[in-house]
Amino acid sequence: MTAPTLAREQFVSFAPHSAEEVSEKQLRVNIDESVTSPVVLYFLTGIFWLVLGSLAGLVAAVKFNLPDWLGSTPFLTFGRIRPVHLNAVMYGWASLAGAGMIVWLTGRLCRVAVQKTWALYFSVIVWNVGVLFGVVSLVFGYNQGMEWLEFPKPAGALIAVGFLFFAYSMISTFRKRQVEHLYVSLWYILASLLWFPILYVVANLGIYSGVTEAAMNWWFGHNALAVWFTPVGLAGAYYFIPKVIGRPIYSYYLGLLGFWAFALFYNWNGIHHLVGGPLPTWLVTVSIVASVMMFVPVMAVAVNHHLTTVGHFRMLKYSPTLRFVVFGSMSYTAVSLQGSIESLRSFSEVAHFTHYTIGHAHLGVYGFLSMILFGAVYYIMPRIAKWEWPYPRLIKLHFWMSAFGIALYVVAMNIGGWIQGTMMNNAALPFIASVNATKPYLWARSVGGSMMLIGHLAFAYQFLLIIYRSGPTRYVPAWFDLRSTAEKVEEKQAL
């Protein structure tokens, strides 16, 4: 496949006014060029796992309503396909795409070409081999039996090695930084680089058993979101919202206050998953207190992002990146406040062990993190591929499928889960009554999941087009609704 050639001026499209401006523009171009291949590899492989993981998730979801469907094929049974979904989207999509975004952001925020790129190539290969090995193991029924830690230990070890090489490159870049001040996104990135390896290695030590294993399991399960996915998502939001709007973050002081409150409280949250379990009461109570204290950093982020966007909401009509990232940021506020309330013992009495928790988890990993990652990919790729997104309508399809899909999913699971919990707490009702009552909501979940999968296919297709620099040549931004008014798009036959 041959792509048409455009001069660099058409990509960077600037008219230099001074030597300094040329230098800053050139610096950005140099930084982007230093990471082009690794970032594309992180994104490409991440999107592969996204599509595979979504498909597996949809199969698992349909099985709730049609339990015999594909039941005679061992590797498609629920006990295998569900962990495939979970681990493919967690260690494949979210982690790899997050790593790609971090690589690009670190270069931009340190204002230096990314260092040790060989470590990134090694990282992305080893990481993917680890995920592939883990997924194949799950398909064949090898499972550690702990949620979020289903991969066999060799797979976990490969992923850990991949992460360490990725972190080595990022820290090397940080040490060569050409800026004195660390932007708030960089704080979140550095925190994730520090905390996640400790978390992942400790959780995989294999020295726990019984109740302690359960405690470690949920310390890890929640902290995977807390110290890896959340910092990644917030780093993206703190960069892309002000950058796209062209307005500095409303209160930088509040941004840093939010980060340090986040660092202080979030690490302690995981044990609230074991409310009512056989753990020392004080341990669970400490976790609940820390969960409620998360109101502080969450509100700091929510207020900051909202007040930064105020007065610029009309840009949501045009900008794909802003639309995805603002959706993600709003979801962060919603899921965090929901999580704090969910940790309370009185709330857990109903919501615990129901579909409510599944809805909550998806609001976090998808509504918050994935939507921000989608926005990041839409922002970053044209800059490193030097090619605009060919079809804004596909981006629009992706957004609405994802947004409506996750909204339907979360609402259905929250309502259905609450009904389920209420009925399970009623000793006069048979257990099967709670199962039957959730059936409509489970169908709604499958519909929501199907919509998300359609969005992912549109996203994956367009991603392939942009890395091959294929599709119509575009001389204007791939904004929504711009094409009809500008009439400056030169359509070329798709190559």
Binding site: A191, I207, G246, A263, N267
Partner: protein
């Protein structure tokens, strides 16, 4: 492994995580990351003369002012 020992291990890791975070905070204070000057300028770090404050940046191909939803 008995339950108390395992809990001590888990809590130890929580404390280690907290200690590392505290060390990062001390480092930041020593490097004057929270000085008034740095805090006042920090938010502008993602902008430069070529991508200045006040200009939407969600574009590689900058269209003309007439096409822009946020004209300069």
């Amino acid at each position: 492994m008995s339950l108390p020992i395992a809990i001590v291990i888990i809590v130890s890791f929580l404390v280690v995580g907290g200690a590392l975070t505290l060390a990062g905070f001390v480092w930041a204070v020593q490097k004057k990351q929270f000085s008034v000057k740095q805090l006042n300028e920090g938010a502008k770090l993602i902008f430069d003369d070529d991508e200045p404050i006040g200009t939407p940046q969600d574009m590689v191909f900058k269209s003309s002012a007439n096409d822009s939803p946020n004209p300069r």
